[in-house]
Amino acid sequence: MARTQGAIAAGREATSRPAAMAGRPPRSRRRLRKAAELTALLGPPIVLFVGFVIVPMIFAAWYSLYNWSGFGPLSDFIGFQNYSGVLTGPVFHQALLHNVIIAVLSLVIQLPVSIGLALLLNWRVRSRTVLRLAVFAPFVLSEATAAVMWYELLQPGGPVDALLEAVGLGGLVHYWLASTSLVLYTVFAVATWKYIGFGIVLLLAGLQGIPPELREAAAIDGATPWQVTRTITLPLLAPTIRIWIFLSVIGSLQLFDLVWIMTMGGPANASSTMLTYQYVNGVERTQFGYGATVSVVLFVISLVFALAYQRYALRRDTAGALTRAVM
């Protein structure tokens, strides 16, 4: 709409403009054109963002102040009672702890493995493309498919147990999904299988961006491959690693599909996450006010992490500076 008006206005100006000034468009016309461009380019995303992010957020915050079953009008205003219920509930604390454990395990286990595999796959080895495809394949599967597949593989006496027994590791066979002390780590292992390919591809892209001259120069100066990796490659890969950490932590906080399909957060909440908690207590029990509260709490946790991470970890990257180690 604004674009059309801008075009009409521009056309009117063009007909009334003295011929001598035709070489350079007047400032007002440029301003109009810029406004039209901005409207055309930013309009749709802003509409989507407001409609699907900001408005639901406002609704969630509004619902969270009510005791509401989802049926009938919002009439039972209870202030911040839902928030005290969520924040003081031991079951929510347990779920939050599980999210934190998954996030920490991701950093401690997935990150080094991803970096190692990315460095390996960056070498010019035979059938590199096939290997890259293989590690990336699980990421392409939908979470639901992966979850159903692993649920079946991990059945008592299922293929995983059979494989362990076949290679003489029958002593390691456990109730992978039924043991309350083991299930969270089983879920983490499946999540690692599912997402490690993404980390590797991200890091490979980062590796491609490192000029080979730097490595070659270091090698000519007598640096060993390990020294080159440690002092050239890894520091230059740091911005990519920091982005991976960000995505991994946010993903860990919002883990749902895999867990829900494999365990429904059970047994006895042993593999619950904030979102399975939200689904069980908000949706299944039709306590939508309470569920909205969990959403708001999760949103605040994610936002605080995102802003803090932006402020302290990504600032150097977003400012466009090279890392200090290289400078």
Binding site: A60, A178, T180, F246, T286, S302, A306, T318
Partner: protein
Amino acid sequence: MRGTRKPAIVATAVAAALTIAACSSSSSSSTSASSSSTGSSTTTKVTLTWWNNGNTQPLLGVWQSVAAAFHASHPNVTVSIDPIQSDLFVTKMPIALKSDNPPDVFQQWGGGQEATQYTSGKLANLSSLTSSWISELGTAAVGWQVNGQQYGIPYDQHVVGFWYRKDLFAKAGITAAPTTIAQLESDDAKLKAAGITPIAVGGGSRWPDAFYWEYFAVRECSESVLQSSIKAINMTAPCFTQATKDLTAFMATSPFQGGFNATQAQTGAGSSAGLLANGKAGMELQGDWETSVVPALTTNKNIVSDLGWFPFPQVPGGAGNPTAVLSGGDGFSCTTGASEPACAEFLQYIDSTPVQEQLVQKANIGLPANSAAESVLTDPALQAAAKAHDTAAYQAVYFDIAFPTNPGQALDNALADFFAGKGTNETIINSVSSSSGH
């Protein structure tokens, strides 16, 4: 260039965090033309939008033919079917009943869940529209009442009992079905001695766990205590604590398959129904729908005839009538509006004897709501289940349905936790009364 990525990253996090919020905040304001006509269905054209859980064969096909036949006899009424998987009703109905265009007919399991939906003000009161024929269903329709008014109508009834493998019982030397818990435990021991897992339970799905405790409660509590406790949403009567003791003692005999806490109820050969279907367990405590579930989980074409049925055993000393059964059923509700008369006629049609017989014979629904159609039940095990249901002193509705949704689900969760070794009698008893405490 990099600077522009900064807000984008935060936006990604925000968007992802809020997806779930968006799910719970939808309230459509668009209007539907599905039931825009006015007056009686016999004079004006009406389209009934019908949400049912017949999303797989054979029920899918039977509902299609029922809709077509109804349209043939009622040319002014068109039935538009929308099959939806059962679990999705939990999320879809609150949103649909808040919107201006809810379905005209939708799946209804009655009890406290129906009472929860009733608060939306969108459920049609069918009492006067069905008064001429509802008596044909006997007591079956009572579970679909709210405040004595008919806000839903059942089309089938369910009864929970033990399904067992006749071949495995014979292999273990068990000659007669157990009638007391002591006999059941002794049969468990015989099955174990023969290398057979006695009982499969789908603990991963949570609700199958609840059947055990609820049945012990039905055996321990008198009918009046049961009814008043459900009504008051309060399970502090001593008989419920006794039920927990019974369950604890029963579970101490380790009757279930290994890793049962993660076993799903009906999905795949590894599910509890699959274990029974494939001869990996001797029994399963399940609803009469078992006969419609097991054929898909095994290559054994005669699986249904391999199964026998016996009621939940008696518990000596319990105040409950030993013939009482844990029960429930499937039905439909209509939403308020112009389509109400046509909807009521449609539900009457579904409960008519010919359609009920069709549902029994072609869709394996188990026990029909209209007992006149029970004569076409041919499977001996189903006949035994139907007899136990019809001759029971009373039918106790599964507690998670009998209670309003929130305490009902809280009870299921507390019982699943108990099965996983992470609960006590107090967590079970308190789950319903403190269900706002999460």
